[in-house]
Amino acid sequence: MVQESVSTAGRTGPADTTAGPGPAPAGRLRRVGVATPYLFLAPYALLFTTFVLAPAVYGFWVSLHDWDYLLSGKPFVGLANYQALLDSGSAVYEEFWQSMRATGTFTLASVPLLVTVPLALALLLNRSFPGRTFFRAVYFAPYVLGVAVIGVLWRFLLDPNLGAVNALLGAVGLPDSTPWTTGLPWAWISLVAVTVWWTIGFNAVIYLAGVQDIPRELYEAARIDGGGRWAEFRHITLPGLRPVLVFVVINTILASSNMFGQSLLITQGAPGNETRTAIMYIAQKGLREYNMGSAAAMSYVLTLALLLVSVITFRLFRDRDAA
């Protein structure tokens, strides 16, 4: 290993084995000390090891124990925390899976909207017209606010009795006493709608960058062939966006299944615990009641579920690619 780095430190380029595609032209390699790259990496590596790698492993260790933060004894229990999650007779089973269902419901309801509505917005903004940058910024604006602001703001706007939403609906002659934060399915509609409102700009901006990367010549060719706008969209825009689309879908699934603040602040899990998401429940168990072993096990189960969903999504896109 050391030999290799010494040789790359030499003057002659071709000895370099790891430089990108193609042989590096001679003279391009910098003469650096063996330790120099590691010194540059060191500060970040220290943080990365302490707060990313170590906890990823440590968390699993914790999940193998009956780990109560407040007690000095933390007995090793093997996989018991995981077994409890699968045993319908255990104390946590019902609540945990209810929270997983809540996360699933929210993800299923929000992802289709969060994938399609921003795409429409991006196509709208892809035309050239005066003020385009301004409108793009306006639609993006809510995204720069934190979930705490969004949460307390919409808790107020959606208040069934005092909120502006019901007042506005009443003013135009629609029902004005919808229980947006306390009834079903209204609570879900609220949470999904608020999330779309909040994050639409994020995906839209990503789509917009993707659309602008599609070569114009393709559209010109299509115009000569006489395809309509819909044909253009189906045969040029969508295929051109495929890599971006895969990213957006997977990223949105992950983001939606991380939902926490909206439920905590807008519905507070109501009605009952119907809108209490998995993250809310895990945080409650682990960091309020300090049952950290059990909560850590739950977080790995959720991670595993997300991994599966991501892989399946990825494959679906790949298969369609092949077709």
Binding site: M1, L162, N258
Partner: protein, 275 residues
């Protein structure tokens, strides 16, 4: 005909803008109402008797809700973390983009893999690690662990890879060492990318909610996001105060966004093209 279409077009655009902006305007307006007026049904559009009472309440800050302190804490934590990220991420990104060393692919692969690890898996063990370090209930917990995220390294590495090598080679011929090249050539060339990363990091920290909710306990160490959740509980339906608090947490980032929107939007759109 063309003109009519133009009018229809802008009507749609402006109508949509209202959907995005009106809730924020409502937040500001409400913060200048009296409690009675803010909860009146049907609501008044503009405050009949505008008052800054909510802000007096917020700033006089009882010991349970020292809002100015939260504001200051948010500012300190976000600034410190953005600075820390710029320093450690730019150094690491430079090594990964320009220097050759054994294990480089492994290191880069490891960093990229963690971009896909859900944040919550790390929350419980990180709570314990931060506890060991004696950082629970301090701003350190908000500043340091979050700087380990992979985004900054990834983002800057991409940018460095796109820089022309000629200037570095010229500096090298003049006898500059790696560190000098990094400081005097690479960093000055990377100002736009560094600015983008600084703003995005600042926003991320300023808005962070779940982590501060669980690692901070005393009102004096809170930042604005967990503080808002406390305000919501403490002031119940005193909406002018709650909306005033939300406005305090929003206005600085909205101003930052107005000034740097090009950077933010470009940074975000590039983050999406990593796939």
């Amino acid at each position: 005909m063309r003109k009519v279409r133009g009018i229809a077009w802008y009507t749609i655009l402006i109508g949509m803008s209202l959907v995005f902006i009106a809730p924020l305007v409502w937040m500001m307006i409400t913060s200048f109402k009296s409690t009675g007026e803010a909860t009146r049904v049907p609501p008044t559009l503009l405050p009949h008797e505008p008052t800054t009472r909510a802000y007096h309440d917020l700033f006089s800050g009882s010991s349970q809700t020292p809002v100015l302190r939260w504001f200051l804490n948010s500012l300190i934590a976000a600034t410190a973390q953005a600075t820390l990220i710029l320093v450690v991420a730019s150094m690491a990104a430079y090594a990964l983009a320009r220097l050759e060393f054994p294990g480089k692919r492994l290191v880069f692969g490891l960093i990229i893999a963690t971009l896909f690890v859900p944040v919550f898996t790390l929350i419980i063990p990180n709570f314990l690690i931060v506890d060991r370090l004696g950082w629970l209930d301090t701003l350190w917990a908000l500043i340091v662990p979050g700087a380990a995220g992979a985004f900054g390294v990834f983002f800057l590495r991409q940018f460095f890879l796109g820089l022309p090598r000629e200037l570095e080679e010229a500096a090298q011929l003049e006898g500059a060492n790696t560190w000098q090249i990094f400081i005097k050539v690479i960093l000055p060339l990377s100002k736009p990318a560094l600015a983008t990363l600084a703003v995005i990091s600042f926003l991320g920290n300023w808005n962070d909610f779940i982590w501060p909710v669980y690692v901070l306990f005393s009102p004096d160490t809170f930042t604005l996001p967990p503080g808002l959740s406390i305000l919501q509980g403490a002031y119940d339906i005193d909406y002018p105060v709650i909306m005033g608090g939300a406005a305090l947490a929003s206005v600085p980032v909205l101003i930052l966004f107005l000034i740097t929107q090009r950077y933010i939007i470009e940074g975000v759109s590039r983050s999406g093209l990593k796939g």
